[in-house]
């Protein structure tokens, strides 16, 4: 059955899969960081990704600010929105059953998406590619911008991992995740740490949105369906490890790409199929040593 499939098509789809995987990796990393620290499953993640893209579009169209400054400004704006949310909404709900914070983030997503749709309509808005052109790899034409997305996302993921695993701040974070009371008694401001963590995770989603803007159309619904796939990715990798989330993200992006070559009908469900198998074989997640609930 492999005879009919050319190497070009195969490598091409793997590369496209790698780009999707970059988004999966970054988004699931944000979700895992937020969950690890606060035990909140952030249902606003998709909407915050969309807000990042919209911020970039607004900066471009109303202030004439281009892609590169937006890459810093838009995630920062989305992170500020996240910090506001954490302070006003999630903090008061922190002591309650986790389902309330989950549903609160969902409600916010519903409101944000609805408001954006009323203001800008449901149709996608175009965003100019900041690095036009591309390179001929011999087997396919690789646009520079996509190459940039893959490289940048790898750096962001590795950087975040280093930050959390190899710095003092990261050590505080991990300690506060294990036992917030004890960390608090050492004089570390745990609530502030939580606010910053949520802001950081949300900022990552915003950053993804800016990266996605030139590839996909900027539309109010760009986040919600992507978010569900990212949830499946996070379930497969397990909620306990950042590296796990990132690796699973890239891997599943490529698996999805390969499925498009061999059995296109299944491309939209292959990640969910993987989730089913992973839950059956390793219920705690393939990269988690222990249950993180």
């Amino acid at each position: 059955m492999f005879d009919g499939i050319s190497t070009q098509l195969l490598l091409g789809q793997i590369l496209i899969g790698l780009i999707n995987g970059s988004f999966y990796a970054m988004l699931s990393m944000g979700l895992v960081i937020i969950f690890g620290m606060m035990h909140v499953i952030n249902f606003t993640h998709g909407a915050q990704y969309m807000l990042g893209a919209f911020c970039a579009w607004l900066l471009m169209n109303y202030l004439g600010i281009g892609y590169w400054p937006s890459l810093v400004l838009a995630p920062f704006a989305v992170a500020l929105f996240g910090i506001f949310l954490e302070r006003v909404l999630l903090r008061p709900l922190a002591g309650l059953d986790h389902l309330y914070s989950l549903l609160a983030t969902y409600a916010v997503a519903l409101i944000v998406e609805g408001l954006v749709r009323i203001q800008y309509g449901s149709t996608g808005l175009p965003y100019d590619n900041p690095i036009p052109g591309g390179i001929n790899l011999g087997f396919m034409f690789m646009p520079y911008y996509r190459l940039w997305v893959v490289v940048f996302s790898v750096f962001t993921c590795v950087g975040t991992w280093l930050l959390i695993d190899h710095t003092k701040l990261g050590a505080y974070l991990r300690a506060a995740n294990e036992n917030p009371q004890i960390v608090q008694t050492f004089g570390i401001n745990v609530p502030k740490l939580m606010t910053l963590t949520y802001g950081f995770g949300v900022g990552l989603a915003g950053l993804c949105g800016v990266l996605a803007a030139p590839i996909y159309q900027v539309s109010p619904s760009m986040g919600s369906s992507l978010m569900i796939v990212v949830f499946a990715v996070v379930v497969i990798g397990g909620m306990g490890s950042i590296i796990g989330a990132v690796a699973t993200g890239y891997m599943l992006g490529m698996v999805e790409g390969l499925t498009k070559v061999f059995y296109p009908e299944a491309a939209s469900v292959v990640i969910f199929l993987f989730m089913t198998v992973a839950l059956y074989l390793r219920p705690q997640g393939i990269f988690s040593g222990r249950e993180a609930s």
């Binding site: 035990h39 986790h98 519903l110 609805g114 379930v235 009908e265 969910f272």
Partner: protein
Amino acid sequence: MRLPLLAAVVAVALLLVAPFYFYSVTLMTILCFVVFACSFNLLLGYSGLLCFGQAMFFGGAAYVTGHLLKTTPISLELAILCGGIFSGLLGLLIGTLAIRRQGIQFAMITLAFSQFVYFIFLQSPFTGGEDGMQAIPRNALFGLFDVSDNTVFYYVVLAVTLLCVFVYYRIVHSPYGEVLKAVRDNQPRVESLGFDPERVKLLAFVLSASMAGIAGGMKATVYQFATLTDASWPISAEVILMTLLGGLGTLTGPIFGAGIIILLNDYLAGFGEWALISQGVILLVVIVFFRRGFVGELGALAAYLRARKARAAAAEPENPARAH
């Protein structure tokens, strides 16, 4: 104890005359969602499992019921029952996998599964894909009675709804229901008493899925079509809103919640996006200020008033004593 019974009798009497005053299709929609919301409350309110994919059972059963009615001469009630059985089996399959992961992640997993099921329905030829399943016939009830008239059919839907609500009431008040609540409140304790909490939860999930299936099957016969919307995740979110608004873990809460949200949707249908935004706002307000929901808050108010009256009654006997 006699007051709730009286209220139930009055409610049934009102429901019996309702189609003479209100549009019967709206009433039937409310009844379908009452069953759906009860199914959800059974799961979240009494076992603490937040399923964010309840729509897969609702929409899935709608397709199965519709397909059976379209392709076979099966009688109406059997078709709805088959929808419920299909959803129960789907629930067994998904529940077995999803319950393996502890805690709040259950919400995420069930949401992902429901999207999986949604894509399968989207690509299956028998569902009609994006167009939906059209012209589902209303076969004769028990193979004998013609129910094509909406007012007549209303009473069938009402009967099924009352039966479902009664079953739901019996489950919640059975010894099993007590174990279920105990698992929600203190799982290790229940485990130490010799129960298997995983099995208790799985059974709740299957029961809830079957009941959601009955609701979906009914909806397919009311509207005589089934669409992908019924299986999509915004419906899952809507049933969460209904249950929370009515009162989590209260017996009558989902009934009020379903009624309020369906009427609100009807009212806001012309305002497009604002319907969804208002749902978001209501959900936020309920979560932040009224976590007990409509019925729960009323119950708390009644309890407060009773306590005040009791205090007043306890204080009163002193006065006559002094008078003597």
